[in-house]
């Protein structure tokens, strides 16, 4: 049974339904694989007992003919999701020992459909990072290595643990979150597929907040179909999150493999950056060719405010974060470093509890909201945001069905490689992805090929609001042309 972990989520689902093996067997196979892969540091907590218990219950439901949509399928959960009684720390020191008494809506949806929890996945602290190096629990190692190299690479971030775990076959699929690219960039760096759904598609209730107006939950999985299956279960309207949207959740899986004939695909000229590596450009062209050959119509479009997206994002997101993270004050839960008075306690706790990147963003956010700076920064950034949204509305109104861009400006880089670099260089990883969050749109990252060094590269498809289905159709068309990508197991 050693190759149970090589099955996709859809395959495992069908095999469980056919009773080819049990949920407990499948779970045990994953628990064993996880143990072998600890060098990747993808999990910050493994929950084997809970996993076996849930798998056993799944087997009972399968036997009783009451299987849910994800019955018996083992998943990893990003540490940002509140999981009842289980380590939930957003990979921050400041949430030391925190185990919530509640379950996030999205993970509860998964369990309600029969999924099995393997453990909590590593991530950048409070989802702030693009390399998973800011985690209090240490960097995650990308299962991919450059050809002939044993240099450890980053899996991207902030959902680095999720992407690495899916790529390394130590979960069938994973939950992730995306505030500026945190699903799509790590998916691209690990040869996996990930979708950031439309803002409001998934409930944010029980997700440790980073930037409330940008945060969105989504899955990372092995291919477009698995991603579609997971999103179907994760998405829901939630009375506890008034920004969630009350629209029916379509059968995303049905969109897989549909014809792309006649779909109009926009190619935004502003995404052709100066100094972009030739192989990224080539990858993009390859995606264009694939879709054109499959019958889609390719049109050149302009999203004129794209260049303002990244700077505006780095005002809006830190501003919201500076306020969202104020609750970590040492008073009620998590870390407390005593002090001579309350202010001293706050300062000691937050100085010790937050990492450098989180502190940087809290400071930026505090600054841009300060009296006298608000209009110049936050208000202006919000205006930019409106313009970015309008850019997209204009092209969609002109008949474009989806937009194709590269997912990242480069392949995965080495752990520590950018440690001394200007933080802005790290922020540039999100240059293709932040616009989507600023506009609240859905964005899918699909692997489209390997770099000359043998590392996966991804493309991004951006859709109309709540039209994730078209993205799955297009993503599956690219996947059909290029196949899927699996790292060589070296661990």
């Amino acid at each position: 049974m050693t190759d149970l972990t090589s099955l996709t989520l859809a395959e495992a689902r069908d095999a469980l339904k056919a009773k080819s093996f049990t949920a407990v067997e499948l779970t045990d196979a994953y628990l064993a694989a996880m143990e072998k892969a600890r060098v990747l540091n993808a999990y910050v907590t493994e929950t084997p007992e809970k996993a076996r218990e849930m798998a056993k219950a799944s087997d009972a439901r399968i036997a009783a003919g009451k299987a849910g949509a994800l019955e018996g399928l083992p998943l990893g959960i990003k540490d940002l999701y509140a999981t009842k009684g289980v380590h939930t720390q957003a990979c921050s020191h400041i949430l030391d020992g925190f185990e919530p008494t509640y379950e996030s809506t999205v993970s509860a949806n998964l369990w309600a459909d029969g999924a099995v929890m393997l453990g909590k996945l590593n991530m950048d602290e409070f989802a702030m990072g693009s390399s998973n190096e800011t985690s209090h629990y240490g960097a995650v190692v990308n299962p991919w290595r450059r050809n002939g190299s044993d240099v450890n690479l980053v899996p991207g971030g902030s959902s680095g643990g999720s992407a690495a775990a899916v790529a390394a076959r130590i979960c069938l699929g994973a939950t992730a979150t995306d505030t500026g690219g945190s699903i799509r960039q790590p998916a691209a760096f690990t040869g996996t597929t990930g979708i950031k759904p439309t803002y409001g598609r998934c409930s944010r209730w029980g997700l440790v907040a980073f930037a409330s107006s940008l945060d969105q939950a989504g899955p990372i999985a092995r291919d477009a179909r698995d991603t579609a299956i997971l999103l179907k279960s994760m998405a829901s309207v939630d009375p506890k999150d008034t920004t969630s949207v009350d629209l029916p959740v379509p059968d995303y899986e049905a969109a897989i493999g549909k014809s792309v004939k006649g779909l109009r695909i926009g190619i935004p000229k502003e995404y052709r950056l100066d100094g972009m590596p030739a192989e990224i450009d080539a990858l993009w062209q390859k995606g264009i060719d694939i879709l054109r050959e499959a019958g889609a119509e390719i049109v050149d479009i302009s999203l004129p405010h794209t260049k303002y997206a990244l700077p505006a994002y780095y005002i809006v997101a830190p501003a919201e974060a500076s306020s969202n993270l104020a609750r970590y004050d040492g008073v009620r839960y998590g870390l407390r470093v005593p002090g001579s008075d309350i202010i001293d306690m706050y300062e000691n706790t937050r100085a010790a509890g937050f990492g450098a990147e989180v502190k940087r963003r809290i400071l930026i956010g505090t600054y841009v909201l300060s009296a006298g700076y608000y209009d110049a920064y936050y208000l202006r950034a919000q205006k930019v945001r409106t313009l970015i949204k309008r850019d997209f509305e204009t092209v969609y109104a002109a008949g474009v069905d989806a937009i194709l861009t590269p997912a990242t400006p480069s392949a995965a880089f080495g752990i520590g490689e950018k440690a001394d670099a200007d933080p802005v260089e790290m922020y540039l990883n999100d240059v293709f992805t932040v616009t989507v969050n600023m506009a609240g749109l859905p964005g899918l990252a699909v692997p489209a090929g390997l770099s000359a060094e043998g590392l996966p590269l991804g493309l991004q498809l951006i859709g109309r609001p709540f039209d994730e289905e078209t993205l799955f159709t297009l993503g599956s068309a690219i996947e059909k042309a290029v196949g899927t990508f699996v790292p060589k197991q070296w661990w």
Binding site: T88, A90, W205, S322, A326, R327, R332, T366, L369
Partner: protein, 492 residues
């Protein structure tokens, strides 16, 4: 109305060494919304539970929790806005006011900053010199904070989050008030309106109504002076005292050649003084920004209309109606409408009766007696039916006004049907002129000197009336006694 329009009233000016000073006052009243649940969580908003018994995950700001607006609190704010004759903003926004404090778990208070739910309105004050209109600047909804408790442990402070997240309405007046009397009258009137609407219980001692008072002084006609804000005053008396003290303090400083620093102050009722809490320089930068967890609040105009249609009659309208329908004075109408329960009581009795007589009896006898016992009208031992019966007995001449007082006291303390009591206890007014004449004759005969004097000084007849009333145990019809005394004494 605004401060530019209001002409200084010489009687309200304060005399200083350098001349008269005008006090300019604006109030921010925090009124706790009457609702079962908190503003953004399902936790109970009821006062008086054991510490931390009414705390939801949202109130404690657990990671990943989100606020969900409580529709009833929004309705209450709209009702209040309508009661203040204010503009209802169909589009309003919740903002975060960021600051660190242990009783503020989120590290920010959800409030409304630039776009409040209610805009400009007004409150009318019945002052001795006439009606004074005070402008309302705005009303917004916000969360209350929890409570820090410093007296439970030698080195630590405790936090009670029961109040954390309870809905407050901040009602901001324009700087239209000019005296401590007006401050008291404004707070009283606001409380009356809130209680009529049922949107706040107005209990200042329980903290469900608190006021921040902005005070500045100027020479009449001068531009506005620098203001100080007196925080968190929780009684009308203290509010008036604080204003008086603060105005004199500021006048003293300016007259001594000093300058007023804009600052936040606290009133110490024990010492009767205000003290500096923090200066403008120490003021927080609250870093307001729209709360991204909450969509802007967009109201359906039809819903606002339906709330308006179901609004109770408000004190000013009720007062005007009482004056028109019952022929009572505006002052009596004001007194009777201070509380909705009193007004309801009055109407129950005054219907089909002489409104004036009922008003007099209620204000002089019932209110006086209830006050003495520290009781509210709801706890009155005398029911409207009983009170009505007493008024009827006076009206048809069965008992005199004086006896009515005694009868009222009996009904108040012992209860019973006033009509029966009159029969049983022989309280009926004596209208038999024969009996009265006899009593008059006896008194005159016993006091021949006084009778002689009265012929010269007719006002002395009052003494004889008193004696006759006394002799008849108060039961004689006073008018009949009066007539007979005058006739017998030969006074016209």
């Amino acid at each position: 109305m605004n401060m530019a329009v209001r002409t200084p009233d010489p009687k309200k000016l304060i005399k200083g060494a350098t001349g008269d000073w005008e006090i300019i006052i604006g109030l921010e009243v925090h009124a706790q919304v009457t609702s079962n649940a908190k503003l953004f969580s399902g936790a109970s908003a009821v006062f008086g539970a054991e510490p931390n018994m009414h705390v939801s995950l949202v109130d404690a700001a657990m990671p990943g929790m989100l606020p969900v607006i409580n529709e009833e609190c929004v309705a209450q704010a709209i009702r209040t806005g309508l009661g203040l004759k204010a503009e209802i903003n169909l589009y309003s926004v919740f903002d975060r006011k960021n600051y660190f404090y242990p009783d503020l778990p989120q590290g920010y208070q959800i409030s409304q900053y630039k776009q409040p739910i209610v805009g400009e309105g007004k409150v009318l004050l019945d002052m001795p010199e006439g009606v004074v209109e005070i402008g309302i600047e705005r009303l917004h909804l916000e969360q209350d904070a929890g409570k820090s408790i410093h007296d439970q442990h030698p080195t630590m402070s405790f936090v009670d989050l029961n109040r954390s997240g309870v809905a407050l309405m901040e009602i901001v007046s324009k700087p239209d008030l000019r005296s401590s009397e007006e401050v008291k009258a404004y707070l009283a009137k606001l409380r009356t309106i809130l209680r009529y609407l049922g949107t706040c219980d107005g209990n200042m001692e329980e903290g469900s109504m608190r006021a921040d008072i902005n005070v500045s002084v100027r020479k009449p006609g001068d531009p506005l002076g620098t203001r100080c804000e007196i925080k968190n005053v929780n009684s009308m008396r203290f509010a008036a005292q604080a204003v008086e003290f603060e105005a004199r303090r500021q006048i003293g400083i300016i007259e001594d050649g000093g300058k007023i620093d804009q600052e936040t102050r606290l009133y110490d009722p024990g010492k009767g003084e205000t003290r500096s809490m923090r200066s403008k320089e120490e003021a927080h930068d609250y870093r307001y920004f729209p709360d991204p967890d909450l969509l802007p609040l967009e109201l359906d105009p039809a819903w606002v209309e339906s709330l308006k249609a179901n609004l109770p009659e408000l004190p000013d309208e009720k007062k005007a109606r009482f004056v028109a329908n019952y022929g009572i004075t505006p002052y009596d109408a004001m007194v009777l409408t201070l509380e909705r329960a009193s007004a309801d009581y009055y109407e129950q009795v005054a219907k089909k009766r002489d409104g004036k007589a009922v008003a007099n009896f209620m204000i002089n006898e019932l209110f006086g007696r209830l006050n003495k016992d520290g009781k509210g009208i709801e706890a009155s031992p005398v029911s409207p039916e009983q009170l009505g019966a007493i008024v009827d007995l006076i009206g048809d001449g069965t008992i005199s006004g004086k006896i009515a007082k005694d009868l009222f006291e009996i009904v108040y303390t012992e209860g019973g049907d006033p009509k029966k009591l009159v029969e049983e206890r022989g309280l009926k007014q004596v209208t038999d002129t024969g009996a009265i004449e006899k009593a008059v004759d006896e008194v005159i005969a016993a006091n021949p000197d006084k009778a002689e004097q009265a012929k010269a000084k007719p006002t002395l007849s009052g003494w004889f009336v008193g004696q006759v009333m006394k002799a008849t145990g108060g039961k004689a019809n006073p008018q009949a006694v009066n007539d007979l005394v005058k006739a017998k004494l030969g006074i016209e």
